[in-house]
Amino acid sequence: MRIVVCMKQVYDPATTRISRSREEFDLRGAVKITNTPDKHALEAALRLRAAVGGEVIALSLGDAEADDVCREAIAMGADRALLISGPEVIGVTGRAVARALTAGVRYLDAVDLVLTGQVGLTDGTGSLAPRLAAELGWEVCLDAVRLAPMTDGQIEVTVACSPGVGEIVCLALPAVISVATGSERPRYAHPARIANAWAPGLVEVCSCTRLGLDAAALTADVEVGGLILPPERTRGQTIVGPTETAADELVGLLRTKRIL
């Protein structure tokens, strides 16, 4: 089975701030990491490969630094990676991303399954999988927690509905599946694989032109109209007095605010 896992480089939310004065993300000091939900997709792919054999290919889109994502995927167990890079893909969103990745999937040829993470840590729309399925014209399933191969060109997907409740669906291949973060925890990269991940020939870098995409295909279909900032934190309230009365007052306050 040839499995493609879409993996993206994002700014670590723990290192990004919001500038209230400029009403935008402050990325000074922000650190780029592999989108952690995508690692869950990779883990699912590696488990599937262990069960049925085949090949796991990481597919990424971004600037030269996105190479780090490809190397990390290889260190975790991917066989190789394709990085779609070049000035025309910088900052692309939504449909354009799906179109570029679709071109990548077609270029990789004979792909049976495309896996994505549930959401991107920075935008969090979770729209990639359905967009990809639309572009590819394939079956789609969202938020899978378990994938099991079946013999007749189908895959059995367990989808978590609510805690402890799952739904099992059968999907015809080829298909696009987004993997929920509630699935198996991504494995640690193996140190020896880390040492070898920068060997030549493991990451193929491809421009959009080579994939047959022109600028028109990459035009944006959504536009960010503005940023809604969370309300500024207000100073907390201090309750003073003897413990018993303070405790009563606290409980009373929590009740009025309907926290208790």
Binding site: E72, A192, I194, N196
Partner: protein, 388 residues
Amino acid sequence: MDFTIPKSHQLFRKMVREFATQEIAPRTRQVDRQGWPDMELVHKLGEHGLLGIPFPQEYGGAGLGELGYCILMEEVGAVCTSTAAIIGAHIGIGVMAIYLGGNAEQKRRFLPDLCAGKKLAAFCLTEPNAGSDAAAIQTRAVRDGDRWILSGSKIYITNGPIADVLTVLAVTDPALGARGGVTAFIVEKGMPGLSVGTIEHKLGIRGSATSEIILDEVAVPSANVIGQVGAGFITFMQTLDTGRLGLGAACLGGATTALDMMCRYAAGRMQFGRPLADKQAIQWLIADTATEIEALRALVYRTAWMVDTHQPFTREAAICKLFGSEVASRAINRALQVHGALGYSCAFPLERMWRDARIAEIFEGTNEIQRIVIAEQAMRPYGVRVRP
């Protein structure tokens, strides 16, 4: 001059940090309390390839060199000194003696299982009457056909009670002494006559196991002689050089954690209406610690680079160990002071870190021995031979 750490090693640091946070840190308190290693954790370290980091892949290692080993020790040292001691005794000296002194056949025979953590190593040098004066060891090895009979006892052996493979130094020719009369052996668990003696109860690193190792006429095949007969002292001294560097790296991790705790607490703790961080007395503790850590970091990673580029590093390794252990002790002591009574409380990790830090000034050559090594190297160009 380029101080950039290669991408592969940056990714390795991320991996170790994740592992240390998720697997080691939650057990740190428990192993200290129970006074014994968590063997499940030790097996996990092996399973995830962390017990063979510096060794070549042909022997089952990760091939990440001394730089990789220092990153491992720094990140593990940042969360658990006991676990760092277990890894240090295994990789840094136990397996290292076989890797540096052993022949290709011995490396093929022993390293894969040791790197995978299927077997654990210990390094047996110290004896009741030979600590700093390592050349004064009394454990004897007498040739008997194609085997050697080892008799004697070793003390304060880290990993002693849990090790499967022990690298042991013994006297093969008392007339020659350290220069040609001392040989290193690979002793394997299960060999008749090998036993674990008294188990030590220690001030710190309680989550590592330390014991006496008793050799009662243990027959060791000649194939288990590390390198040449009579070359043991040199092998063991070279091994200690890399061990000291790794220890310096672990101290760097511990000191960095102490600084982090100190800053975090100083930022949040209000006294006299202002955070502690506003007080110059506290700022100076923070500044001194940050300065010393920066110097230690440069020292450790430059020395790792020297090892990986095959330059002599005996002097630098001794400096790393001496400076590192003192920086860590000072940093943790200051952090404890900043925390006040909370730092002294067993509810908080600083008291454990404070107890743990003390050992680094003692094992793998006391700091006094490090000063002798450094002075010896410093005085050499002046024609003076420094003796202990």
